[in-house]
Subunit: 162 residues, 2 copies
């Protein structure tokens, strides 16, 4: 492997490690446990997984991979706080969507060359990108890895204290 | 910038973003607030910042930059849970150490070439590294960025609900 492909490989391993920890943590929760709040007045676990799914789903168009799988979920899990949506998908639906989105992303990730990783993402103009070349696909990847870790760190706090 | 240096630059920006968010969050806490638990029976904020400082401090020898600045802190903030140490440094001491460690790390980070980032870290043998070239400095960097995000996600939950 070249230096650049080794660097990309490290980030893709980091993504997979984080996503797999999330899959494992949530797969172990019952439907009832998914309805539990992190703390009184805080988000429920199902909201956190829906939020992670919606934010990652938005990476499909942002990285130029294609349309979102669940465009309607932004309203439920990103734009509005927990407890305000009239109808929230079931735990089973959210778990399935999480896995579908992650599988789609990882397939697209694996197909990019290092040179494609440092191309601009879809939310920055050509002019802005010329001035700010750090607004590339790779930065989005790293940012979303951090986002997953941040919310996983919170989700594990909902576990009963041993 | 070359592809490889753009990839490294993205990760260093991600580090700086995460570390700066932590500095800002903790700088806004009073000594009293630092003693607050995340939730009953959970870690105090001061323990989280001490933990992040100790784990990042250990990157100095792990990445070949030199000895640790606070070797004794592993016992207080990593090997033992919160509430067990006889004497814990004050909030002011922990805040100062956090900044010193981060400044030292960022200075060393900036001096590495992309080829040096994919060299082995100090905890893997030459033989193991030949088989597992992903056990490199860059992977340690990404892993610790995730570690910071995970604990920052938890720390913000200690903020009173607005």
């Amino acid at each position: 492997m070249t230096t650049e492909s080794t660097l990309v490989d490290a980030a893709l391993r980091s993504w997979k490690l984080g996503a797999d920890r999330i899959s494992k943590f949530f797969a172990e929760q019952t439907e009832e446990q998914l309805q539990r709040e992190l703390a009184p007045g805080r988000n429920r676990l199902i909201y956190i997984l829906g939020h992670l799914t919606a934010v990652n789903d938005a990476m499909l168009p942002l990285l130029g991979f294609g349309p979102r799988l669940h465009p309607a979920w932004d309203d439920i899990f990103v734009k509005n706080p927990d407890g305000t949506a009239v109808k929230v998908p079931s735990g089973e639906e959210v778990q399935r969507a999480w896995k579908e989105v992650d599988a789609a992303l990882q397939t697209h990730f694996a197909a990019l060359t290092p040179a494609q990783w440092i191309e601009k993402h879809a939310s920055v103009s050509v002019d802005d990108f010329a001035r700010e070349p750090h607004r590339n696909r790779f930065s989005v990847l790293l940012s979303r890895i951090g986002h997953m870790q941040q919310h996983l760190g919170q989700a594990v706090l909902a576990e009963p204290r041993k």
